[in-house]
Symmetry: D2
Subunit: 478 residues, 4 copies
């Protein structure tokens, strides 16, 4: 809730065999994915080859008034995207889906993830005369697709060629004049689910909760390295030459933090995985206490798991003010600490005179956590034991998660948990171990990337990583 | 969440001995009371006798931009109000606080509740030449206060006289040039809490969660029939001649539904009362099941109580989409049923193949409840047993709660719980008994008005009750 | 254009014998009167006795979206108002029409003008228990009407009684359940025109340009002291006991500055009166020159008159930037002088190397005029002779015109025209004489109030005149 | 005012030797060019090589709030653009300036005009792997510039190469990391003026009125075929190999209709040219009459010229409602005819019982003109003689003017002026001859493109010309 960890995208595509109001369904799908990106959004509609689209800054419900939705009209395919962007990157040209009008046919592209070799591809493209409007990786993928398409029999082949060039995390959906194609990097860093509607339409979404929102049934997920093509002939799968030999390495934060608990990713219920994380946490870091409470919203499931495993009663410890939306602006005189109080209030009845176990999903800078601990003490808690349903993260992510700089991370300042406990004013502190994170989805065939905890990444990462690198002065065209 | 029961107001007042940025504190207090009224709001500031104010339609965070807050400037007192209004009553003139500029001094008034004899007072006032801009009871109280003030030594005496005339529900706060006065009807239908800040300022708020929001400590509540006056000399209590002989009769829906769980009203924690309601419900309507889930947000506490009492595990059954704010407009093609799905999604993992007890705080028309039951079945629930933490309501409220018309109430259509269960598709249905509602706060000296359940009201009620009665043609001035 | 002289209101009423979309016509009528008040506006619709209304801050086109217009629905009468308000008086409660819901029938009131004895009436009303929400005179009139109605056979009689009590400037239109009544003070300070539509509906408007806007034909004006009642039986005139013995005294600024040139007030074309003022100015203050230019918009007609009379060619000297609307905000770094340049640019071709006569309708502080003179010189004008189509104003207005304080008026700082000429950098300066202002409409039976020029007022004026007088501390209700 | 002829762009660039608040100056410059495009706008700022920019739909004053202006910060160069777009082309990706982030350096581009060979260039670029986000010609120019830059010593050389490839109308300004470059097509279809500020900064603007707005002095215009480069070393001119042998052919509509009368283009005052057009019109189409009036705003200058030449008095015949901005929405019940009345009202005094000569700058469909003629007759005009200060246009423009389709043009329906006169209800009608249009700027060395009148174009034009050609299905990428 107060963390500065951010997912960077959500995608939603829908393919129908006939023309209908797919923009509305894309709207609903994106609305269900809103938690994956609140900065901007867009929808492109394909009406038998003619593309129309609209994009803007803001929430789905702000950007898409009924008039705007009507304006992009009916179609037989639609593609939508929600986006979070880092501070310097609020460029209007980065809003997705990217729509390309090309003599060989229109193309729309929506991408979730982050490439590790986009700089090289971009540089090469630029030196051969290509121009980039924005700063996102997505434009790099678009260039590659177009280039490969010119030398391929069809777009599906072009996608496979492009997958051979780009590296890193990408869960993508594209629309051509006649087909919708979904593809996912061989590591499967980011999720991508396939659904089918009663009427026969197919959907692809970053999370299954978006399938629920449009009334589609989850069939399965796009497999790492797989290409799925939807045409009037139906859905067809293509295994690519880059299909992984080993297990995939989905981002563990999708389960711990980003995804909605009602989503099922690669066959694993997010709610279940969080409950499991709570149970494992209870085994690793038990403590005598009177009540287990979770920090809303994403700490609740793990708290219930901890309570179930430990036998200590589950309690409702906090109320979040649900009117603290985008328009809420804190009066300037107030301190940052006060902000926490405005959004979160303790239910004193639950914690007064009690030994409290407080479950959160992460600690970033520690200031928010410290403030919450102090609110609990003000409300009469006798002891406050903080348990975190993830390991401490200390390393950057190269695959689409925006983590605060190392200078700000409390786990980089202090090595030992007891030092962090002291810093946030808790009586004790326990993090889930890295080993345990790999068990939260053990019933499914899912492995995880744990690079942000360990610094060991499943694929090579760039040496010099700078945000907003294209915003700095890098040459002189004059 | 989907009910058409509505609270009609929240009030917040603050009195300081020196001039400071009280508008900001009123803003924060109202923000914490936003759940009591989302239609309009206003703040009036008293700067040593000079009043400035601003009001508008919308949420506190929408109406009060930083510029608007600055515009009403600093002061030594501030008074705020949030309001819900029934469809026909969205008159700009009804937005509170009511600010009266009078030759004898300025007056601002904020009111939560509903009078039962305002028609008579209004008629009398009008026939002696008074004019009303709006249609609210509040203007009636203002007239009475001004009239009584002209024949009293001070405003406190005027308030007592007015309390002798007006009947029904009123929790009011007024500002004069030099004092803030809070008063509450002898039945205490609506809550009114007093807080003190570290610096010595006093606050009055409809709920204690607003005191928490500004960092004030809850001292106690204004007692039924009591007048509290805040002046530079401090806080003073006046028992009035109308102070109740018997116990007060607070609206039971404040505990069941309206108030925030983190509030403490008349000494009773709302969270605790709801847990208790859940426990009593478990005793009255036990059933064999695998999991107990609550409908968010107000069903969660009772669900935890039911689970605790019954020993059946508590589960997290639903996710609410937190981006479904005011700007979210459902595309016109969708059915009303779909709306539920957009706002609420089932966590399938929690309910699949299970016998589910679903706790809600009320059933109004039954359509929403029926839809939620069907969502649970679609998600694989084997049985769905609905338990409601309140009795069926079948009678109008005359004290400030806006209940749907009898024609729409499912409990008026069907007499027996099993018939309602059949209508909503549940395997069984149990309501909390009226007797039990009186036990949810038994540790405190609080009794309840149960008129909406029983049709028996603690004070006489008007015979002909029509909403928006002043909007119909009732004469001809021509 | 840059003056701080302000008209305070425009009114528009329409009466039809059948229910139709009168809110739309009121919208169009108000749009044509927008120049008389840009701060706020409102429309009330009478649908066979049931009133609905909407009001808000902003231009007619901003406040009334199609949805809002539809929301107040069809009716057989409608009443609208546009308002300018002085800085301190932006109280939402002052927006008109005032709608009163009274047991004897609904009443709506729209008023243009300013009373001279409203303080006394208000004080008396307050001391007998009346309460005022706003600070405007209009509420005083409403109180008087209601009070008189309770002791009269009908509203028309009540209006006559009220006209016997209130003093100063008032051009009013009211709606009752069954009739629309227009009345005008015996001096006729502010205009009020009557029109008839092809279908038989009647309109009343502050200016005839609003009648043109709805396709109504101007019949005549409401006479000073007259009451006009519109009922299903038609239009009926009532001469009142306060009908003037002598000639009326309309505000001369209506002709010189406020009204639109396409309006005809009391039988006199505003355009014609301004041309005439220009001609008289040419006779009084001739000068040798090469071109006559007017400062847009209100100086153009007089410039054409001056050119015609003098034989010196008329030129187009300035272009106004028509996109400088309400949303245009000048960057903070710019000086106030620059503002003039942003709004007004000189057509160099017209003035280069020429002796220029520049006609404006008024000089308030002199800073704007000085800046325009310097722009002309920068553009190459050899000489700049300023001619003003009104006398210097040096005295306050008590009848509805908001004039800058005496401290700011350049004509109060300097007695002689040549000193003002020096201050604004002009080669010469000539004001129209007071005598001549009385000749600009001599063909009609219209005389003028020239109080702001002479300090001699046609009716007694209050001794202590303070803007926003109800905003100051005047008592202590505590 | 009611015509459906549209200019498509305005550009403004500013180069300073030091960092300052140039975004503000760009804002003011664009505000002065607002008449050239009201659909969208953008500003890019170059702060020593680091580019920031903001763009959006709407007027300059709507898109650029003070916060947005501050957000793009200070710099030593700024480039702005206002844009009109045809219905199908409201693509967010078409808003200018186009900002390209390239490994060799950033580039921003603003363009006014229309290429005649962009299709070919685009096709070629696409087939070699280039991708286009939008549908505008500007992106084509950008591609060419980047490609040429990779094979040139500097950007100035690249510009010259690009000028050798692109054909049609282009008045462009670009920013590189270290320089600002302005260039204009060899025909000089669209204007481009150079100004210098007191502090030494240079400006380039589509019209000189924008130079006035920022306080810059007009030096001269960029010559057809010329490149002007601004660097810290100052301003330098480069004659290119494509510099015209013959006279340039500026768009005559710039003088007749588009440009502001206070602008001076290629040494000719627009106001003067319009006066001249009126004089020539008086010579070609004299008629006995009592008054000459112009249709505001662009008919006024020609009317004054006609009056001067003919000796018939000039009159002010119409008032335009200045509040009819973008937010003004005509109620749906009204006919299109009524719209004219809402925006334009006749000053009856001017035309009653008179023979009227009404000057307009163009007749497009004829419906608006017919309505204005009928308004004059309703106001009492005895005769209405329409004179148009341009020839009838019957042919498409390929150089940046958006003319209605031939099916709608009244001059394509009727060959003879008398037939058009009958259609619009005028007593007579006279158009300026094509020969005379070439005389309106004869004192300067300016010739005109008269293609829209004659169908003879100064450069080859495409055979198949379709608006929004990239929106149709032109291939299948699938």
């Amino acid at each position: 809730m107060f963390n500065s960890i951010h997912e960077e995208c959500g995608v939603f595509g829908i393919f129908d065999s006939r023309i209908s109001e797919l923009a509305n369904l894309a709207y609903l799908g994106l609305h269900a994915l809103q938690h994956r990106g609140q900065e901007s959004c867009g929808i492109a509609v394909n009406n038998d080859g003619v593309f129309s689209h609209y994009k803007g800054d803001g929430l789905v419900s702000e950007v898409f008034t009924p008039e705007k939705l009507d304006g992009i009209g009916p179609g037989n395919m639609a593609l939508g995207h929600v986006r979070y962007s880092t501070t310097g990157g609020k460029d209007i040209n980065n809003i997705q889906p990217l729509v390309i009008r090309h003599i060989k046919g229109n193309l729309a592209l929506a991408h979730n993830g982050n490439l590790t070799n986009s700089d090289e591809i971009r540089r090469k493209t630029e030196l051969s005369g290509g121009i980039f409007h924005g700063t996102s990786d997505t434009e790099t993928i678009a260039y590659s697709l177009v280039d490969d398409r010119l030398n391929s029999a069809n777009m599906r082949e072009a996608v496979e060629k492009t997958m051979g060039k780009i590296q890193g995390a990408y869960s993508c959906v594209i629309m051509t004049a006649t087909s919708m194609i979904a593809f996912r990097d061989p590591n499967g860093f980011r999720p991508l689910s396939i659904g089918r509607m009663a009427g026969g339409a197919y959907c692809v979404a970053s999370e299954s909760c978006a399938l629920d929102a449009v009334g589609a049934e989850l069939i399965r997920d796009v497999k790492p390295g797989e290409i799925i093509e939807f045409t009037k002939a139906g859905m067809q799968s293509f295994e690519t030459h880059i299909c992984p030999k080993e297990k995939s390495t989905m981002c563990v934060f999708e389960f711990i933090y980003f995804a909605r608990p009602d989503s099922v990713l690669d066959g694993v219920s997010v709610h279940h995985a969080r409950m499991k994380a709570g149970e494992l946490l209870a085994k690793e870091h038990p403590v005598e206490a009177d009540v287990v409470i979770g920090v809303p919203d994403s700490g609740l499931d793990a708290a219930l798991g901890y309570a179930t495993q430990s036998g200590i009663p589950y309690g409702i410890g906090f109320i979040k003010n649900k009117y603290t939306g985008r328009s809420f602006i804190q009066p300037s005189q107030m301190s940052r600490e006060d902000t926490v109080r405005l959004k979160l209030n303790v239910i004193k009845e639950t914690v007064r005179d009690k030994r409290v176990i407080m479950i959160d999903d992460s600690i970033v800078r520690g200031t928010t956590c410290a403030r919450i601990v102090s609110l609990l003490r003000e409300a009469g808690a006798k002891e406050v034991h903080v348990r975190v349903s993830a390991p401490p993260f200390r390393h950057p992510c190269y695959f689409g998660t925006d983590i605060d700089s190392r200078d700000n991370l409390i786990a980089c300042k202090y090595e030992k948990a007891e030092d962090i406990a002291a810093a946030i004013g808790a009586d004790s502190l326990g993090y889930l171990s890295v080993e345990s994170t790999h068990k939260i989805a053990e019933e499914a065939d899912v492995c995880f990337c744990d690079g942000c905890f360990t610094g060991r990444y499943p694929v090579p990462v760039p040496e010099n990583h700078t945000k907003n690198k294209y915003d700095i002065k890098i040459g002189d065209f004059g």
